[in-house]
């Protein structure tokens, strides 16, 4: 449980607010509308979007931005986005927090794997012989090589781009 005697870390909240989609966390009034229909909350004892928002409001950076962070239990279903009466869009706050995890090198391996696939091939799914053969059998056009040079250019952060 959250200790209510903590001092609010406003510096963390400023950082979160500067992330794309992170600014709305300030409007959360802890009503819990995000919890009722959250499938991850329904199927687990420890995932609760309202508590994640509370931790963000209190600025409990270390409990949110750590290895194996609880935020990775989010199913990305957008139900909380639908329910929130304050337009906080908890899923967007969670995505902003994942972006912060990435900058600290704390995101799970899956993220690195997908980034590598897209960076090197332009695709998340790697092409194999079976698929090439099936496409031929089906009379589909062959898969083209993707413009990975353009992807590399777009993936490069530049000054003024970063939120933090």
């Amino acid at each position: 449980m959250v200790n209510f005697m903590v001092q609010v870390d406003l510096k963390f909240r400023d950082k979160l607010a500067a992330m794309i989609g992170g600014e709305m966390h300030n409007l959360c009034y802890q009503c819990g509308a995000c919890v009722g229909d959250c499938p991850a909350a329904r199927y687990s004892d420890d995932f609760n979007p309202r508590l994640i928002m509370l931790k963000a409001l209190l600025g409990l950076e270390d409990t949110l931005l750590c290895e194996n962070s609880i935020i990775w239990n989010c199913t990305n279903c957008f139900t909380c986005y639908e329910r929130c009466p304050q337009n906080v869009r908890p899923i967007e706050i969670i995505i902003a927090l994942k972006n912060m995890l990435q900058k600290r090198g704390l995101n799970p391996q899956n993220v690195a794997d997908i980034l590598k696939n897209v960076e090197t091939t332009g695709r998340t799914v790697l092409v194999n012989e079976t698929v090439i053969k099936r496409r031929q059998e089906l009379g589909l056009p062959p898969l083209q090589d993707m413009p990975v040079d353009e992807i590399a250019k777009l993936m490069r952060a530049s000054e003024g781009d970063t939120d933090e």
């Binding site: 990775w72 239990n73 199913t75 957008f78 990435q102 997908i114 695709r123 698929v131 413009p147």
Partner: protein
Amino acid sequence: MSEKKKAAPFFGCMISAKYPHFEAAVRYTLPRLGFELVDLDGFTCCPDPIYFQASDKLTWLSIAARNIAIAEEAGLDLMTCCSGCTSSLAETNFLLKNDDELRERVNKRLERVGKKFKGTIRVRHIATVLRDDIGYEQVAKSVVKPLAGLKVAFHYGCHLLKPREIMNVDDPQHPTLLEELVKAIGAEPISHRQRILCCGKSCLNEDLPPRMMKDILESVENESPDCLCLICPTCFDQYDMGQIKMKKIFDRKFEIPVVYYFQLLALAQGADAKIVGLQWHKIKPREFMEKINAIAGV
């Protein structure tokens, strides 16, 4: 742009590089509905709405905006065939159309590749195109082999419907789109208790997704349909492969064939069963395959 009845198809990674028979089904069915698919060069991954977005939202938006800009240059709407691609491209389109500052930041990046997001096209999931541009009636008219007697349960998936302000497709709590599409091909839509529950694919916890999927599969099984129909290759992956996992994790055997809607539509339009590609699915009980072959006249 709907009066032109054409769009640029965006098949995405899962369909083009893992389930190409879904692409074949789309290419077979849409022209038979008087809808032209105009292939454009240069698309990349949408990119992935979960892991890629988790790394850096600005990069995610920029790569998605590059894909949208290609369609803008051709003056065509994008027609997505996967709910994940829809999520990435429709959200990007919505955010950049409505947020001037964000659009400027993304366009600054796009300058590096000589592209610009202008906000002149729409991104729409193919199921929406069927309803709004083609119409259920036209879909019904294209049927030469009605799937009479086939009981079809469906799974909507999250990203076709939510968030509603962006997707603008159907009521996320009480959707009817897939039911109507199933009716249009002469089959019987079968509802089930968990038809709008999330499949859990994007949750990284090892314990939650299998339990969510088990509940959905049990909910489907309770209604004894012939198959489970969906409109997203990622959902398909989750349920086709997933039933094998159910056996391993819970020692619970399910045998519910899973199909992409456009496979059924292709069959109803008289496609060769080989093109429809059910032979490449993991779950293909004999009884179901016999029914399908009888419809296809094999």
